[in-house]
Symmetry: C2
Subunit: 450 residues, 2 copies
């Protein structure tokens, strides 16, 4: 990977070459640059420079470049490309990416482009699947062999068809009806007797997914069995496509980002470099939800305004009790959400986890309850302060353990994403109940506080 | 992947077979189960059942099982295994995993085990690298070919040596001094003329890492260039090992978990199913840090106790101003930390991001400042309340944008992990300064509040 520094230098050199119309030099620079780095370079060019670069690249070269561009830039580039050029380019891109690109176009444009593609027959069936399903990320770029083929014939077939490297790691053995029978890898082919038949050398026990399997589940399977690719097979056993490890790496990265963002009340598709207006539109809705929950916490305090007027020092302990509850609960929510995402934790384990987190709540509660209770008593010189603050802390630690477990597991049970704003919901409980415990106890024991 | 349900059923059946001493049946059940699923099964067995299962498996079978076990269970199993058995098992495991296992043993035990391994010469050099460096996750299980070898000779060599499938995707072309010259993949071998030499068919432009490269950087490179494996080359250009995509998938998953946990003030190695005492020991230290920061927030409130005694309703707005600041800042911290982890954001972009997040702070500040200001004025019927609450909210939103950007970028600049407890530090600022703005303004305008 060229560093940011190097990319910036390359971009300046390319801009200079383009400004002097040194087409030869620009082409040489692009040819010497890996498409992944070309994509980084491309981001730094202005609109007209980008157009020039696209004009300098072959359809195959543009295809390589598009495969490495982020979705937002991709959208702009594709929109401005003549449909005939786009069709030629998409014939060269990996099919799962061709599908992603076609999805960026208005439906009528997508159909028009598709009609000019030579790979239309293979790409069209992929369009019908949801973006985040196995069908949506699979590619048809695999090598299929008939089960009666011999090893010698298979090698001759590969020599003649010259499949791409990334497509040829696993070879899929089918019957006449395209039903998946087994898998052969290139190594088996190389080391087997040329007269053996595919059905004799193939591995029959194949892990596969359905087209409507969620991409996260496909990722978990590939990771669990340490595979390079996983076939997508329909109800009838017909091979529909394959998902390769590099696409799974992207899925894993994306899903982790999505979970982190959702826990923080951020939409999964916000970007650090998005324009201010876009980010504002994406981030403000959850903050409005949060404001409503903050008003609930404020409302709880308002109920006890009279108590606070008598013992203003209660306000000092409000952020301590609520904040400590929020942080302890965030630890629990985070570990529960992540363990579920990794498939380690199922709703059926709820009791076991709940018992553990409540036990932790008791430990933390006693520990921090005593610490802040003693501190409060030492400061104010009255045992009432110690009891009110200490007990409120103890109870709020139990709420943290309980709600930290219950919120994400409950969301999962209702088939919601456990990550979504778990943090916001959790702190609502630890704030509202933390204030109730502290101020409620203070109201009862007010005689000991003043 | 067998579901939890199926694993439980299988475990019960295995336990039953073991209790009736049906060795034949137990072996058949294990043989029919993928090692990844055997590992899930193993977790559900008790100590003596585990020992029986290990006795039933061959050294190769145990090796497959160990490769799929989690580190904590792995530690227990390995500790109790006779050293001679362990040495035989480790000869069969992938070398990067053999190294991980040897690291679990006390040094003297590791040396004793190593001395009995036939692969000792290959595994020993791997032990010298840090656990999280490229050298620490690389394997020596690759296929090397001499640059003068012909395609025909290479195929004959592969047929004779029968390398494992996962090792044979890329073939590494070396000179007599083991310096990496280029890479050939199996496909190139299959489609090339048998008389061509390796140095003519190989790809010379190879992306590689050094042994001391951080594993995250290796993961980013593999992902950036969409590779299946990446060679590890020392300063002299000598090939030391390779890192394969499946190991990178594990790195990506681990690093994402670590970041999520660290942001929540959880150590990266806590586990949802760890014993209560272990989790308590892991989680409490950060909560103690958090308690100290909470005392800072409480201390800030204490300064203004007199003001609160005069206008107790200020306590109602304390959680609203502080909570909204904390949540807005958490959005910023999360997106900054994640973008840095993905290599999208470098400290040099600090100004650009800071300007954007401050602009967002102004938008959010004006929006929520007006909302809560108007609400406060409507409730209390005095303009002073609107000004105090609204302005405090506006200022705290600016703090959220500023500190949300500054804390993780600053930690990175000082070579600390930006994820570590960013959330705890952020809320310290939004709490302490939020209270200062709210209560400080109230003290100045106290005449308008009562």
């Amino acid at each position: 990977m060229t560093t940011e520094q190097e990319t910036a230098t390359l971009a300046r050199r390319l801009e200079e070459l383009l400004s002097r119309d040194d087409v030869q030099g620009a082409v040489e620079l692009l040819d010497a640059t890996h498409p992944a780095d070309q994509a980084d370079l491309f981001l730094r060019l202005d609109e007209s420079e980008r157009q020039t670069v696209l004009a300098l690249l072959s359809a195959n070269g543009i295809a390589d470049l598009l495969e490495h561009l982020d979705e937002d830039v991709l959208g702009e580039v594709v929109e401005q490309m003549p449909r005939a050029t786009l069709a030629r380019v998409l014939d060269y891109t990996e099919m799962d990416i061709a599908v992603d690109i076609l999805r960026l176009l208005p439906p009528s444009e997508a159909v028009r482009t598709l009609s000019q593609m030579t790979t239309a027959a293979q790409v069209t069936p992929l369009l019908g699947h949801s973006d985040e399903s196995a069908g949506g990320i699979m590619t048809r770029g695999y090598v299929a062999l008939h089960k009666e083929m011999t090893v010698g014939e298979a090698v001759a077939f590969l020599r003649a068809t010259r499949p791409l490297a990334e497509e040829a790691y696993y070879l899929y053995v089918l019957d006449a009806g395209n039903h998946l029978q087994g898998i052969v890898n290139l190594r088996q082919l190389v080391v087997s007797d040329p007269k053996d038949k595919m059905q004799d050398v193939m591995t029959r026990d194949v892990v596969s997914v359905r087209p409507d399997t969620d991409q996260e589940e496909a990722a978990r399977l590939l990771q669990h069995y340490r595979l390079r690719a996983i076939p997508v097979v329909d109800d009838a056993g017909v091979l529909r496509g394959i998902i390769t490890a590099d696409d799974i790496i992207d899925v894993i990265t994306e899903e982790a980002t999505e979970d982190m963002f959702r826990m923080a009340g951020l939409p999964g598709d916000d970007s650090i470099f998005a324009p201010v207006a876009v980010s504002a539109r994406k981030r403000i809705p959850w903050l409005v939800v949060n404001l409503l929950t903050a008003f609930m916490a404020g409302g709880m305090v308002a109920i006890f305004e009279g108590t606070i007027a008598k013992a203003a020092a209660l306000a000092v302990f409000m952020p301590i009790v609520a904040g400590q509850g929020g942080n302890a609960g965030t630890q629990t929510v985070t570990i529960v959400v992540r363990s579920m995402a990794l498939g380690e934790l199922e709703p059926r384990d709820a009791w076991r986890v709940l018992r553990k987190e409540l036990a932790l709540g008791v430990i933390r509660g006693v520990l921090f309850g005593v610490m802040v209770g003693v501190a409060a008593m030492a400061w104010k010189g009255q045992w009432g302060w110690g009891v009110v603050v200490g007990v409120a802390m103890l109870l709020n630690m139990l709420v943290a353990g309980l709600m930290g477990t219950f919120i994400p597991l409950g969301m999962k049970a209702f088939r919601l994403d456990p990550a979504v704003a778990s943090g916001v919901f959790l702190t609502t409980f630890t704030d509202v109940l933390g204030f109730l415990f502290l101020l409620g106890l203070a109201t009862i024991l007010i005689g000991q506080l003043t």
